[in-house]
């Protein structure tokens, strides 16, 4: 819930001056009430020490979270509305699906969205620690999502409390695609769950298991060259070293260029137009943003990296490479 509050705080900071959050754990007679008033909090300092009002003796059937927003005035454009819906659908997807949260924007209910994981493979785990118990699964989500949405949906006492929680079960900080569910029992709500978990031996074992699992995903393409990004786009292709200066070799050189090749040359020449059209990308030793290769690549809408200085000597004919015309890098495929 702490995270939910801080997220709401962040979201509502731009929207309103205050809200009330009422939440009741499942099968519990306790009700937590949080009154947020921006003016009051700004005056009294530390946001993390917010006062909870705990009401006891509520009906155990009453379970759920209610957010009452006051002083709210928002105007959404269609485009902004769509991205808010996407964002909230992703961020609060599990809450929406549980029926604990209902978000309506411009009379339209926000649908939950769940990221896909590689091979639908859910690695299950379970362990006990210091009298507590943890279980759940982890997986590797497919790339393409906002990188901040990774981590675990954490459940305590059967209630989903946090989505995308960075709880310490992320062995490699560079791999920001780990997602899963984590159920924990036995940690008092007032205790730091991350510290509690990390101190246990079982947790360390689980972490090393996860590290093994993530090894294949850690493989990153090796960057071998850089230059000026002259024309945008990212493609994979076969290097074709072409000498465009020697007129005598023109026929031989031209015939070597096949569809899908990446032309690697000192500099392009207009009489190689046919070869250039058949290629999917251009890498040159020489040139800047206005050189022939850059101009022709922009015209034919193919990615290009120019001015690498050493492409013709570094790359080998037939080598598979990734050409990143957005950043100006060449990677090994």
């Amino acid at each position: 819930m702490e995270s939910l509050v801080s997220v709401l705080k962040l979201r509502l900071l731009y929207l309103g001056k205050g809200f009330t959050l009422i939440t009741t754990p499942r099968n519990s007679d306790e009700e937590y009430v949080l009154e947020y008033d921006e003016d009051h909090w700004l005056e009294h300092g530390d946001w993390n020490k917010y006062p909870f009002i705990v009401n006891r003796g509520v009906s155990p059937e009453k379970s759920g979270t209610t957010v009452i927003i006051r002083h709210l005035k928002v105007k959404f454009s269609d485009k902004l509305l769509q991205s808010i819906k996407n964002e909230f659908g992703l961020r609060f997807g599990p809450f929406i699906q549980n029926g604990e949260l209902k978000l309506v924007f411009n009379q339209e209910a926000c649908e939950p969205f769940f990221p896909a994981i590689v091979d639908n493979k859910k690695n299950e785990f379970t362990f006990e620690f210091h009298g507590g118990k943890a279980w759940g699964w982890w997986g590797y989500q497919l790339a393409g999502l906002n990188k901040s949405y990774y981590g675990f949906h954490t459940y305590r006492r059967g209630r989903l409390v946090t989505t995308y929680d960075k709880i310490g079960l992320t062995p490699n900080q560079d791999i920001k695609q780990i997602i899963g569910d984590l159920h924990i029992e036995g940690i008092p709500i007032t205790h730091d769950k991350k510290g509690w978990l990390k101190s246990s031996k079982e947790h360390q074992e689980l972490e090393s298991k996860m590290r093994e699992y993530f090894k294949p995903f850690e493989k990153r393409p090796k960057r071998i060259l850089s230059g000026f990004p002259a024309s945008a786009g990212r493609i994979v292709g076969t290097v074709r070293l072409v000498n465009m200066f020697m007129a005598g070799d023109m026929e031989k050189e031209m015939n070597r260029i096949q569809k899908g090749d990446i032309i690697v040359t000192a500099m392009t020449r207009p009489h190689f137009l046919l070869g250039i059209r058949r290629s999917v990308g251009i890498i040159t030793d020489q040139g800047g943003n206005l050189c022939h290769a850059a101009i022709v690549a922009r015209e034919f809408n193919i990615p290009a990296v120019v001015g690498t200085q050493s492409a013709t000597s570094t790359l080998q004919d037939g080598q598979r490479v990734i050409l990143d015309g957005n950043e100006g890098y060449i990677y090994e495929d």
Binding site: S231, F245, A247, M254, P270, L274, R277, L290, I295
Partner: protein, 370 residues
Amino acid sequence: MKINEQLLKFPKTLPNDIETFLVFYPAKFPGIIAYYEEVAHKIAGDPKAYREYGQWAHDELFKGFEKIKKDYDSGDKDNLSFLVEIDQRFNKLTCYRFWIVNYLFPDGPLHDYFVDTLKNMIRKFVDVGEEVEEFERKVVQIQRDFLQSDYADLYLRQALSGVKLVKMLESNIKTKPILSKVTNLIDQHSQENIRKINAIWDNLTDLINKDSAGEMFELKKELEIPMEQAEFRKSRLPIYNMLTHAVEFREENKMLAERHGSMKQKIDDFFAQAKQKLSDGEYELFEIAYQQSRNFAMFKDIIGEIDPQLLPLWFGILDKAQQILSKTTAIHPRPIGHAGMFYQLIWYLPPDLKAKVMTPDITPFDLKTL
């Protein structure tokens, strides 16, 4: 418009300096440094002045070439001293009239400045969306459109004339069957067909060359560039490439022609957006940055028109000098370009000529005294 003094200084590096002029020219013709800086102060911030200068340099280049060629034609072509003198004159002409427009401006610090300014200004007027990546992609895309501009360079002109070529071949009774036959072969995308395709193009070229009734006048005009190249390169390959390209990429070329046709409108729309969102000073800078990057790219082509005439002659002179020298010295052969006299032949020249080549030429450039 005020441009930072540092940007108007003589370039220290050139990314596109294939002929390594930057190594030799400032040493051989020291006057080029002051001359470039003087010209840069006058025209760097003024697109109209740049265009005038570019055209003037182009005219001077051709006049200078004619003058040297005339002297060469009437001189003793077997005399090494004469060949060296002609080469040095070509170098001086190239340095002061070709290099400055083809390399010093469009590849030097001013080029970087204008291209970066363009991007920075685009950032200011493009709608900031929700996604950072999307915004960056949009900025790069618009910069691409601006750098491409509504001007068709040599590559694009060839691609666009491909559309016309196919149309002409289709509409002529004599060439229509040729076109359908060759289209079948090309569409098979097989290496084995290349010889057959080239043979068909040979027939077509002969047909065009023999045309006395003027039926293929337009077709010949459209193939002017590759025909020129074919003569210069002593191979019909440029013609084959041009024609095969026109047929193989007929659909893509049509789309390219449409995109190019609407490019002016697109750029005008961006300018209207920029006018609304940028301050007057920023808008002025933006406009100049666009005009100058367009000019830089355009005049590279315009000044490059000299190549088909200049290069065969000049390289021929260097070859001849190499042959004469090889009679008395063992020369390790290597391909040489414009500056070949400075980095290759210099080692084999007799002392008096070596001194001549290595002595800096401090006299200012003038067509009359060239």
